[in-house]
């Protein structure tokens, strides 16, 4: 029974990871930009809960006020489009994003 649960969890993680590649990395490309974004979010929102909430909020309804990017950048490229993902998937993707790129786990 334990084995089954463990296998299910691992496969779910891989499933989520592959969804992340598909839903996020397919457009955003490399890790560098994601790193930068996480730094910006961490610098502004500090805690895990607030960072995740801020990302979710922005992706659902992107505005220049909510964006963590510099005003000049937004002015030039504009804000991104609204997400097409449902809330549940979006939150899962944000969780994967945070787990991979958060600063806290990289401090030594």
């Amino acid at each position: 029974m334990v084995k089954i649960i463990l296998l299910a969890l691992i496969s779910l993680t891989f499933l989520n990871a592959s969804s992340f590649e598909e839903n996020c990395l397919s457009c955003h490309g490399n890790d560098f930009k994601f790193n930068m974004m996480m730094k910006k979010y961490t610098q502004k929102y500090s805690s895990e809960k607030r960072i995740k909430e801020a990302i979710f909020d922005y992706l659902k309804e992107p505005t220049s006020e909510k964006s963590v990017l510099p005003y000049e950048y937004i002015n030039r490229f504009g804000t991104k489009e609204k997400t097409t993902l449902d809330d549940k998937t979006l939150r899962e993707m944000i969780d994967v994003y945070y787990d991979r790129f958060n600063l806290r786990s990289k401090i030594y």
């Binding site: 730094k39 502004k44 500090s46 805690s47 895990e48 600063l103 806290r104 401090i107 030594y108």
Partner: protein
Amino acid sequence: MYKSEKQTIFYVLGLYLSSTLLLIATLFATYYFYKQDELMHAEREILKEYSSALEEKLLFVHENSDERYEYPRFENFKSAIYDIDKKLIFSTLDTKIDNLDKDFFFKGSNSYYISSLKPHYLGAAYSVVEKKRKPIDILNDLIITALIIITITIITSFFLVKLVLKPLRDNLRLLDNFIKETTHELNTPITTILANIETLDSKSCDEKSMRKLQRIKTASTTISNLYQDLVYLLLNHQISSQNEELNISEILNQRVHYFSQAANVKKLNLHVDIKEGVCFNADRQKIERLIDNILSNAIKYTNKSTTIKVVLTQHTFSVSDEGKGMSQDEIRTIFQRYRRFDKTQGGFGIGYSIIKSIIDEYCIKINIESELDKGTKVTLTW
């Protein structure tokens, strides 16, 4: 130095010293707390600088690292950072900090400073810096200074009290000298009067002259008794006790007989109940002074035509009169020298002072029961 004088010196010294000590303690405590406050302020400033240094380093690490972030470490202090929800991000501290609301505090031997950070580099919303607390080492110096000041104060106050009491001492010495000289002058006439009365032939006098003679004898006895008291008091510190086994019953009988004349003048009824063969090891002269003073007091202060009871048992001697009695306050102060409650009677107020010195020497307990307008009972127990 008299006992009362010593007592006054102690009281004044106590009062003077306690007020001075209170003043010194207040001054020193104020100074100590002021220094402590100054030190705390200095500590806070140092920690504030450390906190700024940490913030600068956090900014540097946040901006210049990508994959891994090396937490800034310092030689002279330790630190920790917390996120905006007060969850620990990273710490090099030895202890855990629970409360991030106070900005500066001491815990154990360390001092801590907490500051809010914005922007939140590495996610840090609060930084905590910790350093070893600098001890306040002025306490020992303060104690030594206080001890020196207290010593000087004690010495000064002692001389001050002596100076203030000097006029009082001079007056007492004058009184003592006066009594001493008067006593010497009294000796010869009293002895002459008493010796001559004793040798008078009672048969050659008529009844009226005889009564007059008896009165002269009583008065002379009183003066003689007073003389004996004064001599005892003046020489008290110079003579050593010649202790011997005394037959108290015999001495008491003699002394009662000696005072019977004085009792007759006041028409007193002397009720004497003396157990035979009661012995006590003491100086004869002192025991006579003791008995004489108790008896003469009873005769002097009792009312006319009343009864005086003199009772001697194996271990007690009591004399009770039916005089005006004393209050509890008067009994408490009775043993003070020159203390007299009834100014209508003659005397110097030295009787009970003598009684006290003798009973103290022979460890005899005294009990004075007295009721105003009813009488007094003095009991000695050994």
